[in-house]
Symmetry: C2
Subunit: 356 residues, 2 copies
């Protein structure tokens, strides 16, 4: 039976990426060797790394604008540490927007490095919305935000105009919508949503913001070291980078961000329309802040849980349970998910309505 994978991450990738990746595990580029056993300094892999870095900047519209793309290890949680190490001076401060679990995780780490101002927080309302009225101190070293909150189903649809460098954790919505990415000084994203498998993190950084803190930075945590070594300071996560490269290629061949955004909008509109129409369901995020990547919703009457769960599982749907910290349901509709899968979910929701 065809599976409809709504997992929040690691998550769905294009089928052709799985096929090419599996082939490379058996034989990479006709070399007679697996991609798992080749040197990261082999000509073929160096080319993959270079093309992946180039493609990432190209898709974001950042080519030739002073940015560098890196594929590092550690996940977004590592960037929670690398960001203050690289950008917060000893006596300086940074401003953070608290919009969810991951934003709060970033804030917690920043506090170990210096004064961390919470510009605004929606925590008191269980992160059901994105704060919009707030002030970013003009003397902050940077402003950090999380563009999409997978757990709470919210997404920033606008970003503040500010004179301080904007750092954004885009782990769960990078490459999903058109933005003026040149407004960000540093973007980071764990691969495992729209870009690739778990195991690598894309960092896009404007070079001129680095080297100003006066801190002694451990080499592996220093963005400048990685830039100097062209993202090969140490052995990269070869397979994860290769698979991310395949996914970025797929995105480019499918029209890039502009085209994928249309598809993502269509999927999200279809699902949110049903959540709003169907009296059995209710969305958890404030409508204006809803995420196009992760729709979070509840059954109005929890006694329908068993029936609903049976129905969606029988339809081949997987990964629909909400995050363990909030419960309910979460439909993650990343780039690679076809509209068809959302249609199947909507049909199931209608089926439940008719059956109760």
């Amino acid at each position: 039976m065809k599976k409809h994978n709504f997992s929040a991450g690691p998550s769905i990738l294009p089928r052709e990426v799985f096929e090419k990746a599996a082939q490379a595990v058996l034989d990479f580029n006709g070399s007679g060797l697996s991609i798992l056993e080749i040197s990261h300094r082999s000509k073929d892999f160096v080319a993959v790394m270079e093309e992946a870095r180039t493609l990432a900047l190209e898709l974001l519209g950042l080519t030739g604008k002073g940015y560098q793309a890196l594929f590092l290890s550690g996940g977004a949680s590592m960037e929670f540490v690398r960001v203050p190490y690289n950008l917060m001076t000893h006596l300086g401060k940074a401003a953070y927007l608290d919009t969810g679990t991951w934003a709060a995780g970033a804030i917690k780490e920043a506090k170990n490095f210096g004064e961390t101002v919470i510009a605004a927080s929606s925590k008191a309302d269980n992160y059901t919305y994105i704060p919009k009225e707030y002030t970013i101190p003009a003397d902050a070293g940077y402003f950090h935000c999380t563009s999409n909150n997978t757990i709470f189903g919210t997404q920033m649809h606008e970003f503040p105009e500010t004179g301080v460098p904007v750092v954004c954790d885009m782990s769960s919505d990078i490459f999903s919508r058109a933005l003026d990415f040149s407004k960000f000084s540093l973007i980071y994203a764990g691969a495992q949503k729209n870009m690739g498998p778990a195991g690598t993190t894309l960092i896009v950084v404007k070079e001129d913001i680095l080297g100003k803190t006066g801190r002694v930075i451990p080499a592996i945590l220093d963005y400048r070291q990685h830039i100097e070594k062209e993202s090969m300071y140490n052995t990269p996560s070869v397979f994860a980078v290769y698979t991310s490269y395949l996914t970025l290629q797929w995105l480019k061949e499918n029209g890039g961000i502009a085209e994928i955004e249309k598809r993502n909008t269509a999927k999200a509109e279809l699902l949110y329309s049903e959540i709003d129409r169907n009296p059995l369901f209710t969305g958890t995020a404030r409508a204006e802040d809803r995420s196009k990547m992760n729709a979070t919703f509840l059954l109005e009457d929890e006694s329908h849980t068993e029936k609903f769960d049976k129905l969606w599982k029988a339809a081949g749907i997987s990964g629909l349970n909400g995050h363990r910290s909030v419960g309910g349901y979460r439909a993650s509709m990343y780039n690679a998910m076809p509209l068809e899968s959302v249609q199947v979910l909507v049909e199931v929701m209608k089926e439940l309505e008719q059956s109760v």
Copy 2:
């Protein structure tokens, strides 16, 4: 043509591991989903992580001895930082043995954290041997060494008896030979030699040495956080952990470390015998310190380079060039390499001798 992969890392893994890994990329455990698109918190992957952690301790003979096994991201270079963060007190010191490029890298990072004593170094002799006469200060927080030096072809065949905790970077020879692993308080190893693909690092740590520095440790760098979360503090490198698990299973099914050590010894003896017998070649490491994993050697007469390179390439050998920092040749003979591949190399060396 059959390939003989002598790459120093990422490097050869068992063929059956590649086949199982490729299958999982297409369909993991018959789930209808790729291992690249499943949640790391799915039942099947949680089981993989648990079994991999258990198997690592079992193969090292450390079950029930107060150790924890973790699969983290970042590579050995990240452990160069995690080790002093977790083990060096603010006013304390640590002792390091300087046996090569990676040992020196670890030392460089430790110096940012506190007093770093070089117990001994073979740098002045281009790291061609392992220092043996040295004193480890009794008040050192820990003693750090590198068990095998891939670039210089040396390996520690004995470890110092000391009262301070011994920390060992075993990236390039873990699971290759029997040792009393309980003499080590912390072992770390990037997966990409004997264990799996690049993208995860095994850490085996005795729990009672942690939590004593008084430092504020960023969560992602704190071994205790990872232990508490059973190696799932953040999204692990799912595919790299799974492939490492497959390789550890293969090792167990093939007799574990005791059996693989016999094979490794046979391979190393075959190659070193030829290096010593054949007048065209010379080994670069002191004989008593030679590595069974990486044999480094030179042509006595460099004018034979072109001919030798043609011969080994024609025989299907790859990855034989020495590290870019030292030149010459390096034959890496990790666990998964069959004796047959070393025989092919020895035949080529004999062929060169007969042809000049």
